[in-house]
């Protein structure tokens, strides 16, 4: 037994890798649910959107790329369902060139589930290069920055865009951002100037940078990384009139939880084995 514990300390790396791979693939292939609480930042996100009146336009800036998809995609998907189920009118823009092929098919698909018409119930303005400058211009003059939508239709001819000239004309701004340009720039360029109610969804790594914005009420809601996305997704899924959609956030969250638990488990066994066999030092020491 002691010999086994001793050899356990020098476990082949590849066995650890197999365990990690299992903790990643099992939750993705076989969905199950672990319990979690909804944090106040995410609850606030949900409540703020719920509080919007029917038919209100909402500006959504979806700025994520394939590499940040695992963290932000579930939020975006749940957000789409939330928008359409509440009869809100989202206007989508993006500041990353890789985003349109990711988001446009999903927007169309979800809209058709709720029988929403393009131009009347939702609009996709597409991608614009220029980073911070675009954000500044969205604050001042949307028709000038986006004369046409993603499909090339002049936005003056879209029913929904009548009367929308500036960011101020939206009662709510949602920034789903993977980095630069993102929440930080939106807060500085638009929210700070026009006092626009704003919600943010960001990756876990940049989360701590945005907590001060939430505390100072500049962001009314904040969803950070996979945990935030999964919690928001759970809230939206439990709404009455929402069409069913796959819980990608919960799946990823299970991966996270499992892999964290797995690493902690490894640390625990490593230490257990170490303490049981502390007197059995060999020439080059364990590990």
């Amino acid at each position: 037994m002691r010999q086994f514990l001793f050899s356990l300390q020098k476990l082949d790396r590849r066995i650890i890798f197999v365990g990690m791979a299992l903790s990643i693939f099992i939750p993705l292939l076989l969905p199950f649910s672990l319990p979690f609480k909804v944090s106040k930042e995410v609850q606030a996100t949900y409540d703020q959107i719920e509080a919007l009146p029917k038919g209100a336009p909402v500006l959504i800036s979806a700025d994520f790329d394939p590499s940040s998809m695992p963290e932000l995609w579930p939020f975006f998907q749940a957000n789409l369902h939330h928008m359409f189920a509440n009869d809100l009118k989202p206007v989508f823009v993006t500041l990353l060139p890789t985003a349109p092929p990711l988001i446009w098919p999903e927007i169309k698909k979800t809209a058709s589930l709720y029988k929403k018409q393009y131009g009347e119930d939702y609009v996709f303005l597409g991608y614009k290069d220029g980073k911070e400058l675009v954000i500044k211009n969205i604050g001042q003059n949307i028709p000038q920055q986006f004369p046409q939508d993603y499909r090339g239709t002049p936005i003056a001819s879209l029913e929904m865009m009548q009367g929308i000239k500036q960011a101020k004309d939206f009662p709510m701004l949602i920034a789903i951002s993977a980095g630069f340009p993102g929440i930080n720039e939106y807060v500085l360029q638009i929210q700070g100037l026009y006092k626009l109610p704003m919600i943010g969804a960001c990756t876990a790594v940049s989360g701590p940078d945005y907590i001060p914005f939430f505390k100072s009420k500049q962001l009314l809601g904040l969803s950070m990384g996979i945990p935030g996305s999964a919690k928001y997704e759970r809230l939206v899924q439990s709404k009455e009139n929402v069409q069913p959609f796959s819980a990608t956030g919960a799946k990823s969250l299970n991966v996270l939880s499992l892999s964290h638990l797995y690493i902690i488990f490894l640390i625990v066994i490593g230490n257990f084995a170490y303490f049981m066999t502390r007197d059995m030092e060999d020439e080059d020491g364990p590990g």
Partner: protein, 362 residues
Amino acid sequence: MDPVSIYEIIGVWVSIFLTLTVFSFLYDDNPIYKLSEHIFMGVTIGYGISESYWGVFKPNLLDKLFVWEDGQFAGESIYFLALLLCVLLLFKATSKWSWLARIPIAILVSAYAALKITGETTAKLMLQLQDSMPDLHTSWNRHGIWDWSNDGAGVFSDTFLVISLMAILLHFYFSKIPSKTEKWGYPLAGIFFLLCFIACFFLSPLQDSLIGSLIVSLSLASCAAMPFLAISPARKSLSRFGVWVLMLSFGASFGFTVMGRVSLAIGRAQELLGHNMSTERAEQVMPQTASFVSLLVIAISLFWWSRRKKDTEIACRLSLQQWAFSSFRFLFGFGCKASMNLCWDFGLCRWESRNFGSLRSI
């Protein structure tokens, strides 16, 4: 639904195959991984060259220097100097004149070193120090000694921040302090601690809170004593404390990063399973089939390779390698021979075996 172009389908299949080859490196270094590693290096070097030409060389040198207007030279002549420096650097490739390349190198190294002296001192030294001088009285008024609802903000955290900063700096203290000087450390620290404590206590603006002024004065007095403790023998224990704070922060930073790294792996797994594309696209591209086929190809070649390796390596350690070997054998059973034959017929392995003649010696 628009049909997906054949280039895209090939692209997705190639990218899935390459993804799995890189993951096969987790098992061990192997020929298939080596192949994709070298493709990777080659492609990135080619990419780097072309980007540095289009992004730097052309706009910053060629477009500024070689400009002709009506047959007249209209470039900025100062860029001849840049051209000269670049040519001097290229002399490095010669053997006789290679020392000339040291001129641009010397200029570059000293220029950047000099810029960094002021840059790092302002950004990393002065600004950081500026942020590390908290107002403890205000902190007491707002949070008291420790405020759970504000993530532990308060006098304790502020003092901890300052003292641990000093302690870590002491950990980087390289000199030895002469014992003559060391003797003065403790008495001076004591005197200054007392003086500062008394002064702060009586001058404290927190007149209505005795405990508050006591705690704040104690904290300030210990800050005041720090410089003298730094030259006393207590330096060693302070530096120990500094190391603990370093470990606390490194541990936290490690734990925090795990989530980001796992998210990356989730991203790759989603691509392998085709979760990152719409269902209609996935029906045409068939990423799961691609993953399965690639996995099979890689597994077979790994198996083939480890047999080769086993032939040449006399002593194979009792390790996962054998475990994996036997599980492969279990998985493929007798089919392995048949699949090998299939692979041979496919032409893939035959082609490989001809060109990878050197593989046997691994």
